[in-house]
Amino acid sequence: MEALYEQNQSDVNEAKSEGRAELIPSIKLRHCCLLRNQRCVTAYLYDRLLRIRALRWEYGSVLPANVRFHMCAEELQWFSQYKKSLASFMRSLGGDEGLDITQDMKPPKSLYIEVRCLKDHGEFEIDDGTVILLKKNSQHFLPRWKCEQLIRQGVLEHVVS
C-alpha cells in the first residue's frame, strides 16, 4: 500500500506543479486500489470481532488458551471490555442480584436434568456442597443452571429419555 501511496503522491505533486491534468486518471485508479485494500482489511478485522463476540456467548467468560493464542492484544482487550459491559448490563437487570442472560438459551422444562459425561473433567461441586466426580460415561442428575455451561462446552451431554 505504501508503494501505491508514494507513486500517487509524486504524481499529484507533478500534476499540480506542471499542470499535467492527464495524470489524474492514474491517480484516481491508485486511490481506488488503496480504498479497496482498506475496505478488505477493515471487513476482515470486523468479522473477527463479531466471531469473538460470539465466543463470549458460546464459551463463557474464560476462553481456552489455544483460542487466546490466536487473538492479538487489541482483540483480547476488546474481549475483556465486552465482558465487562455485558456483566454490568446483566447486573443492572432484575432486582438486586442481576440476571444472567447467558443462561437458559432454550426455554427450560425442568429444574434438574439428566446428564452424561463425555470426557473426564475432574471434580465438580454443586450448591449444597456435594462433590461429584465427572468420569467418562457416568450419568448424573444435576441442577440445570450448573450444567448448562459444561453442556455448551461439550463436556456433558444432555440425556432426554
Partner: protein, 211 residues
C-alpha cells in the same frame, strides 16, 4: 433450533453495498468488460498484451467492479462500461421466456447482485435490466421457497447448484427454519446441545495436531 451467536454483516439490498459485508466484497470482485475513454499514464504494466508505458485511449480491458465503480463518472470521461452478456438483449429474452430453467450459478454466481450494481453505470438499457432482474427473481422465488420448505433430510445439491448466491441464502434460511420446526416436533428443542462453535473448533484442533 440452534441458537446463533455469530451474526455476520449481511450483503446490501438493491443498489447499495454494505461496506463491511464480506459477501459484497466478493461480489465486487467480479470483472466487467470496459473501454477506456482516456489515457492512463504510467500504468502500462497493467495491460499485459501491449508493452507501452501508458494505457492508451480506447483499450478494451476487464476490470473488477470496485475499480470500475470508483473510476466511473457521469461525464463519461474516464471509462465506459459494456454490459456483460448475461444482461444483454439475447439473455434477457431467455429470462423472460422461462427463468426456471437457467443455471444462474454458471451465469456468474452473483447475478442479482451484479445486476443491481450495473444500474450505477447509466446504460440506456437500465430500465429493461431492472425489470428483467425483478421478473426473474419473482418467477424463481416460488420454486426456491417450495423446495426449501419441503425437502427434509434429502440431497438437494442438484437443485442448489443452479441457484444464485442470493437464492442460496434464502434457501438456507428456509431449510434451517424447517429443521428447527421438525426438531421441535420431535421434542429435541428442549435438549441442550454443545454449541456448534465448540464442535467445529474441536474438529479443527485434531487436524492441527497431526503433522
Amino acid at each position: 433450533m440452534d441458537t446463533q451467536s455469530y451474526f455476520p454483516v449481511p450483503p446490501g439490498v438493491g443498489m447499495e453495498e454494505n461496506f463491511l459485508s464480506l459477501d459484497d466484497i466478493l461480489l465486487s470482485h467480479e470483472r466487467l468488460p470496459i473501454r477506456t475513454e482516456c489515457t492512463f499514464p504510467r500504468l502500462g504494466f497493467l495491460e499485459k498484451s501491449s508493452d507501452t508505458q501508458d494505457i492508451p485511449e480506447g483499450t478494451k480491458m476487464e476490470l473488477p467492479l470496485w475499480l470500475t465503480k470508483g473510476l466511473y463518472e457521469r461525464k463519461r470521461k474516464v471509462v465506459s462500461v459494456e454490459l456483460p452478456k448475461v444482461y444483454k438483449e439475447g439473455w434477457r429474452t431467455v429470462f423472460n421466456a422461462d427463468p426456471n430453467v437457467v443455471d444462474l450459478h454458471k451465469m456468474g454466481p452473483y447475478y442479482y447482485g451484479l445486476g443491481s450494481q450495473m444500474l450505477h453505470f447509466d446504460s440506456p438499457e437500465n430500465p429493461e435490466i431492472a425489470q428483467t432482474l425483478l421478473q426473474t427473481f419473482i418467477a424463481r422465488f416460488r420454486r426456491t421457497m417450495d423446495s426449501s420448505q419441503n425437502a427434509y433430510n434429502e440431497d438437494t445439491s442438484a437443485f442448489v447448484e443452479r441457484l444464485d448466491c442470493l437464492e442460496k441464502a434464502l434457501f438456507r434460511s428456509g431449510q434451517s427454519g424447517l429443521n428447527g420446526f421438525q426438531s421441535w416436533e420431535k421434542g429435541q428443542a428442549s435438549q441442550l446441545t454443545a454449541s456448534s462453535l465448540v464442535l467445529n473448533y474441536r474438529k479443527r484442533k485434531i487436524t492441527d495436531v497431526q503433522p
